[in-house]
Amino acid sequence: MSGLRGFAARSKNLVIAIPGGNLSRDALGLLERIGHQTDEMVKNPRRQLFPELGLMTMRPSDVITYVSAGAADVGIAGKDVIAEYATDGAVYEILDLGFGACRMALATREGKDNPVDAAMTRFGVARIGSKYPRTARAWAYRTGRSIEVIELKGSVELAPIVGLVDGIVDIVDTGRTLAENGLIERETIANSSARLVVNPTSYTHKGELIERFNSAVQAELDREGDSS
């Protein structure tokens, strides 16, 4: 069916989608500091819905799906995930939350020559492994490269080592995982950090709640910025 939204529609309160994984702690910490109850969620890592707290949690890349369908009113998601999964305008991206900073980068095996350039020169095309095929294609288009994307779900670092691909497009945090696998970053593609995203219908019908939440978060970020 078209556009059923479920839980958030039946709740008078704001329903917030929290990404599991790396961003989870920072996201919950931020909510805690603006006075939002999160104890139950921290104590029950396996539960996914906390109706009394107006919180739900899911895989980071699913946050966009829940918010764009309106099952949650607002959500917290990395820019990397938004760029990969959100269709233009499906969610409104209203605030940079600062935490979860990382970058999308092209990495290859170490060595003087860049294997991606070498493949481009020799075959006119480079094979790129990635969990972010759309991002990889957009980067190739922008930089005038021809690539074949091999979509991977995990352990992306393995692919260039065993020669499955010439390079990978992936998230780099400190670069340690790359180094341990004999890879180096060749090119930064985009910078990422956690963002606050909003469902357009919720922004219309729960606009005041969302504005209040947005202002509280903004004030908290400003306060932290001043004190650091």
Binding site: G3, L4, R5, S68, A69, D88, G89, L95, H205
Partner: protein, 350 residues
């Protein structure tokens, strides 16, 4: 068993025969009788306002639809006929209506007041699979320019929706020309404007602030100009959004102000002004709007001014129109109905 002609998920050709292709579905009698009732009310309301129904073929030349922009309308089913001509199933009704006015109705004087009840066909992108065929109702007012005609169309929209059992919906109203006009008035370098506008079209306020930060650092714009732009396009609400605007950009908000001021109390009660709303479709040139209902997560429909589209069919006429997805309208109306029942039950108990 694998069969190249069998789509993923179907295990054999036999199963396939009893299914419908993705994004397409049957409409069964229960639903259809509800929907027909909605449509009867819609038609009566539109006819009483002297709008006439228009039918156009489901298939159009691809080159016709391309005049409205193929990228934004996403035709789902490109076809090649026996003569090798490229056809598409129409992705919207606005472009065919423009074609009809510029060709079949060329001998008639404007204005034209037309409405339609038609299936349209779109591709789906992203992770949420959407219908590829859906029923749309809408109206087009062609040949009148300016905020007055936008307001007439909004009044028709509200009357048509109010004729259905739907309550509790809001119309978000913006102007696709507002940001370009603001950038012009504040003398933002011309070459930097498309990137800024793109951020707002995709509703990426973080990207918008980042673009402006960059221009600020380069010295292309002042911190004050940056603040004015961000603050203005973030404004949403009622009458108060027009207060305390920088004097250079007041004129850019004139048409929205006029519409809001002249709207009947009923229409105004539905309006939410949003200075950041631009919508995605390539052909919008001025005021744009979306209809949102709290039971659904996505807009029921929307519309706007498209003053340059008819010109592409060699008949220069200003125009404004709206379209609503009937299935979503029906879903929202049912949600309202359940809410009413729930409220009634609660009341009768207490």
């Amino acid at each position: 068993m694998t069969d190249e002609a069998t789509p993923a998920g179907a295990t054999s050709g036999k199963d396939l025969a009893f299914s419908t292709p993705p994004g397409l579905r049957d409409m069964l009698p229960d639903e259809l009788s509800d929907v027909t009732r909605l449509l009867t009310r819609f038609r009566l309301e539109l006819e009483s306002r002297h709008y006439s129904e228009l039918h156009t073929p489901a298939l159009e030349y691809e080159s016709t639809i391309a005049l409205g922009g193929l990228e934004s309308t996403q035709p789902a089913f490109p076809l090649i006929d026996a003569e090798g001509r490229r056809l598409v199933l129409r992705p919207d009704m606005t472009i065919p209506t423009a074609r009809v006015i510029a060709t079949r109705l060329r001998h008639l004087e404007p204005p034209f007041r037309l409405y339609y009840v038609s299936h349209v066909y779109r591709g789906t992108t992203g992770r949420i699979e959407q219908p590829r065929e859906f029923l749309q109702v809408g109206a087009e007012l062609v040949g009148l320019s300016g905020p007055d005609s936008t307001l007439e169309l909004l009044e028709v929209l509200v009357a048509a929706v109010d004729a259905t059992p739907l309550v509790g919906y809001r119309i978000v109203l913006g102007d696709a020309q507002l940001l370009p006009a603001i950038l012009h008035a504040l003398k933002v370098p011309r070459k930097d404007r498309p990137a800024i506008t793109h951020e707002l079209v995709t509703r990426d306020y973080v990207g918008l602030r980042n673009q402006l930060d960059r221009l600020c650092e380069q010295g292309s714009i002042s911190a004050k100009v940056q603040r004015i732009i961000v603050e203005t396009v973030s404004r949403r609400g009622g009458e108060e959004v027009f207060d305390n605007l920088d004097e250079r950009i007041v004129a850019a908000t004139d048409s929205l102000r006029q519409i809001y001021r002249d709207a009947t109390p009923n229409v105004r009660s539905k309006l939410l002004i949003d200075f950041g709303l631009t919508r995605q479709l390539g052909y919008y040139t001025g005021e744009v709007f979306e209809v949102h209902h709290p039971a659904l997560g996505q807009a029921i429909g929307g519309g706007g001014r498209y003053d340059n589209l008819l010109e592409r069919f060699n008949r220069k006429l200003p125009a404004v129109g709206f379209g609503l997805q009937v299935e979503r309208l029906h879903e929202a109306a049912r949600a309202d109905d359940e809410q009413r029942k729930a409220t009634f039950l609660t009341k009768s108990v207490t």
